[in-house]
Amino acid sequence: MIAALPRLRRFCQGLVGHVQDGDDLMQSTVERALSRAHQFVPGTRVDSWMFRIARNLHIDRVRAAGRRGQQVPVDELPETMGEDGRATVESRSDLAAAQRALQAVPDDQRAAFLLVVVEGLSYREAADVLEVPVGTIMSRLARARGRIEQVVGRGPGVVQ
C-alpha cells in the first residue's frame, strides 16, 4: 500500500486540483482502504483499488459540497486562457498551468484522463476503477482532450 502512495497522491491532487485538498483526499482514501482491507481482492492491483476508493470519496465530497456541473464555458474561464493568457499560462509553473487545464475538464472525464494518460492504466483497468464500460472511458478521454485543447489552446510544445 505504501508503494502505491506516491501515485495515489498524484491522482488525488489531479482530481481536486490542490495540494492540500489532494493530500486530504489521499489520507481519507488510505483510512478507508485500511478499514476495508478485507474487501481487497488478492491478485488485483492495489493501486487500482485505491484509485477507486479515492474517486468515490471525491464524488461524495463534490456532492456534499453541492457542487454540480463542473463544465465551465470557455469564455468564463479566468483571463489566463485567452490569446494573451497563453503567455501568462506559459510564464507560470507548468504544474499550475496543468492543474488549471485539468480543472476545466469535468470530473468524470478528468478522472479517466488522469488514470490513462498520467497513471498509465489501460482502458480496461480504468473502466474497472471507474466502474463504467470501456466505451465510456474512450468517449471520456476524447472529450477530456477536446476540452483541454480548448483551454490550453496552442499550449507549450505544440507543433504550429
Binding site: 506516491p6 498524484r10 485500511l34 482491507a37 507548468d94 504544474l95 490513462v116 476524447a142 485543447e149 507549450p156
Partner: protein, 232 residues
C-alpha cells in the same frame, strides 16, 4: 469533427486500437493534414500534462503523514545476540502488570467463532504482515508483531490493539485468543522498544502453554500470508 473521430484519435493516442484499426488510422492521418495537426496537438497536450504532474509522484511521503494515516513502519527491535532468555522475553513489548484488569478487553478482542464470514480481526491477522498496522472497520488499530508456530502445529501471532498485547492462534474458524496482557507502552504505530523493566508475564504463560517456536522470518511469514496460512 464528430465524436467518433475524436474517440478514434484518443484511442490511437492511447494505443487502444487493434493493429488493423491503428494501421487504418495511420493512413487517415497521412491523408488528412487537419487530423494530423489535431493528433499532434493532443499528443503534445498529453505530454505536457503528464510531464507537469510527474513530480507529484516523486515527492517522498514524509513519516509524519504516514503516521497520520496509520501507516508508520516501526523499526524492528534489535535482537540481543547472546541472550538465553526465550525470545518473547528478549524482545517482549513493554507490558503493564495489570493483566487481571483485562477480562473485558479479552472479551472485546475475542474472535467470534460462529458464522462463515470471518471477522475483521481474523482477516487482519490473516493478511497483515508483522510490524504493519491495520485499522479495523470499527476504528481499532491492529498491529501484528510476530508469528510463531505452536507445538500442536497451529500458527499463532502476537499482536497489539487498544494498548494491549495478545497472542492468538489460528484455527479453521478464525483466530482464537490464547493470552492477553495490558501494554502500557507505545501505541501500535509507535516504535517497539526493548523490554527493560516491563512485565510480560501475561503472554509468557501463553507462549509457554502453546510451546511456541522461535518467531518466523519475514519471508516465511509472507509466504504463509500469501498461501492463506497453508503450509504449502
Amino acid at each position: 469533427m464528430s465524436n467518433v473521430f475524436d474517440e478514434r484519435l484518443a484511442a490511437w493516442l492511447d494505443g487502444a486500437l487493434s493493429p488493423e484499426e491503428a494501421a487504418a488510422f495511420a493512413q487517415e492521418l497521412e491523408r488528412d493534414p487537419d487530423l494530423a495537426r489535431r493528433a499532434a496537438e493532443w499528443q503534445a497536450n498529453d505530454a505536457f500534462l503528464k510531464g507537469a504532474l510527474a513530480p507529484l509522484a516523486e515527492a517522498p511521503i514524509d513519516d509524519a503523514l504516514l503516521a497520520q494515516m496509520g501507516l508508520a513502519q516501526p523499526a524492528p527491535a534489535p535482537l540481543a545476540a547472546n541472550d538465553n532468555q526465550p525470545f518473547w522475553r528478549r524482545h517482549a513489548l513493554p507490558l503493564g502488570g495489570a493483566v487481571a484488569a483485562s477480562l473485558a478487553a479479552l472479551l472485546l478482542l475475542a474472535v467470534p467463532q460462529r458464522g462463515a464470514e470471518p471477522d475483521g480481526l481474523s482477516l487482519a491477522l490473516d493478511t497483515t504482515p508483522s510490524l504493519a498496522a491495520t485499522r479495523l472497520a470499527d476504528g481499532r488499530m491492529i498491529e501484528p508483531t510476530l508469528t510463531v508456530r505452536a507445538a500442536d502445529g497451529r500458527w499463532c501471532r502476537e499482536f497489539r490493539a487498544d494498548g494491549k498485547a495478545a497472542l492468538a492462534c489460528r484455527t479453521d474458524k478464525g483466530w482464537t485468543i490464547e493470552g492477553e496482557a495490558a501494554a502500557t507502552g507505545p501505541s501500535p504505530t509507535d516504535e517497539v522498544r526493548l523490554a527493560a523493566g516491563s512485565d510480560g508475564a501475561g503472554l509468557d504463560a501463553a507462549y509457554r502453554r502453546i510451546r511456541a517456536s522461535d518467531p518466523l522470518g519475514q519471508e516465511e511469514e509472507k509466504g504463509l500470508i500469501s498461501r492463506g496460512w497453508n503450509r504449502r
